[in-house]
């Protein structure tokens, strides 16, 4: 039984052997380096165990795995919102201590300030980053254009659709110009159609801006569509099982048959590491996951 599964896996793997290759990144050449990272929450749940990950500058890395695999925890550790209980997280060789201007976290919710217009949200964020007052408006409008929200600059968030809110949030994130963007299932709450549009938009923006992105998702297609690399993670305890580079030219399309082949391959790899329990389920990946509920509610203190 196990052997048959193994043979099937190997057969599928050959569908796209040249497209998915193991990634090898030297720690000293990496923009972000995570070494022997471990984290357990106060309730003793082991969220991460011995995670090693090196991300080069300009890469688009997707953290992929079922809920509970610690992918969000890893992202929050990179953002500095979670202080890991073991190991080290460094960016440009410097250990991460709390949130910083070089990194920006995006959430599943657009998290716009509801009392500010789309432009107001962006100029407010620019102000916090010390951009001079007279440059803010122009810069805001540039990024509103880039996410194709022209004509909605003076609209309040609650008057926008879910996809438009997310685009506004993306514009705000891009405008403050972080070198690293950390995205926590940003399109998870959108309907399928809007999600595809957002993926295409994000891809074109990423190709232009050349930012380093770490993108958490549980959607295999989304990971393969967007990433230059996909990091497969497994739960109990949260760990990295495979780190693969995706050799497929951009811009990509979801209709690309090789993407489907890769997706099948990835699904089987995930199923294999999930263990026999999950083998009974035809589709071990949940459609949508939330931020782990065990994540500590952040204190609203930012001044200290």
């Amino acid at each position: 039984m196990v052997r048959r599964l193994f043979e099937r896996l190997r057969g599928l793997r050959q569908v796209a052997p040249h497209l998915l290759r193991p990634a090898h990144v030297n720690a000293d050449r990496a923009k972000i380096s995570v070494a022997q990272l471990g984290h357990h929450y106060a309730n003793k749940v082991v969220a991460l165990k011995d995670v090693n990950l090196n991300v080069r500058s300009g890469e688009f890395v997707c953290l992929l795995g079922p809920s509970g695999c610690g992918k969000s925890t890893l992202l929050y550790a990179l953002a500095g919102h979670v202080v890991p209980t073991g190991g080290s997280v460094a960016i440009d060789g410097k250990p991460i201590q709390g949130p910083g201007p070089d990194r920006l976290l995006m959430f599943q919710e657009a998290a716009l300030f509801p009392w500010l217009t789309v432009r107001g949200n962006i100029t407010f964020a620019l102000g916090a980053r010390g951009v001079p007052r007279n440059e803010r408006r122009e810069r805001a409008d540039t990024f509103i254009q880039r996410v194709r929200l022209e004509g909605f600059a003076d609209t309040l968030p609650h008057q926008l659709s879910g996809g438009m809110k997310m685009r506004a949030s993306l514009a705000r994130a891009l405008a403050v110009d972080p070198t690293v963007m950390l995205m926590d299932e940003p399109f998870g709450a959108l309907d399928a159609q809007t999600r595809v549009h957002m993926q295409e938009l994000l891809q074109s923006i990423w190709m232009r801006a050349g930012k380093t992105v770490v993108f958490v998702t549980h959607d295999v297609q989304e990971a393969l569509m967007l990433g230059t690399r996909v990091v497969l993670m497994a739960p109990r305890p949260g760990r990295v099982v495979e780190d693969l580079e995706i050799h497929l030219p951009m811009p990509r399309s979801l209709e690309d048959p090789s993407l489907d082949a890769m997706a099948r391959d990835i699904r089987h790899r995930l199923r294999a590491v999930e263990g026999p329990l999950e083998n009974q389920h035809p589709e071990p990946l949940p459609r949508r996951t939330q931020t782990p509920s065990s994540l500590p509610r952040p204190s609203i203190v930012t001044g200290r």
Binding site: H81, P99, L104, A111, F113, P114, A128, R129, Q159
Partner: protein
Amino acid sequence: MLKWAQKLGMLLLLFALWEVLARSGVWNKHLFPGPLEVVESLIAMARDGRLGGATLRSMGRLLRAYAMSVSIGVPLGLLIARLAFFRNAVKPVVAGLQALPSICWLPLALLWFGLNDSAILFVVVMGSVLGISIATEDAVNGLDPQLARVARTLGVRGLRFYFGVLLPGALPGIVTGLKLGWSFAWRALLAGELLFVSGGLGQLLTMGRELMDVTQVMAVMLAIILIGVTVDRVLFQTVEAKLRRRWGLTTST
């Protein structure tokens, strides 16, 4: 439209019932005058300036006391929500004092300040400041954690965080608290004014009682209701509704 017709209909019905009861002669006419007499008396008082003067004095007092309450209550609420010391030590005191009806401060106020405006101001402030600070604290604690997170990741901190995120985020709740504080203050003011010579609406009521002029008493009561409703409806509800719409808290219609 229908809503307004219903409201108006109910009001007319009440007045008609009142008029019928007054005319039926079940009670002595001096003790139970009809609405027409009461309105007449109200108009008469408005004409000879007694009502206007009393209203001005009362409102002047109320505004002064309310301004003090707001300028103490909102920062106090903010402190309680943000600083551990205030949360642990000051909050129980505030909650405890809130249990004391505001008029109970009057004897103490009279002993401390004497028979003057300060005593009433003190009572009104004590009546509303605690409610305002508790509501402010609630509103600040109720800030959407998502917004707090996004503020952190955007690097919004210090004063920019207080005035750009925390206060605007809590504003709808704070305004609700201010509205509540206003009605507390209004109650405390009239209770205070009733008890001694103050020249306000409360004293107009007392005077009516002393002159056995039930019509005047009822007329002043009517005036008090009108003023209270006007401020609540016109001022606070409008501001609140506007705010909630802008903040996207109500489904925009």
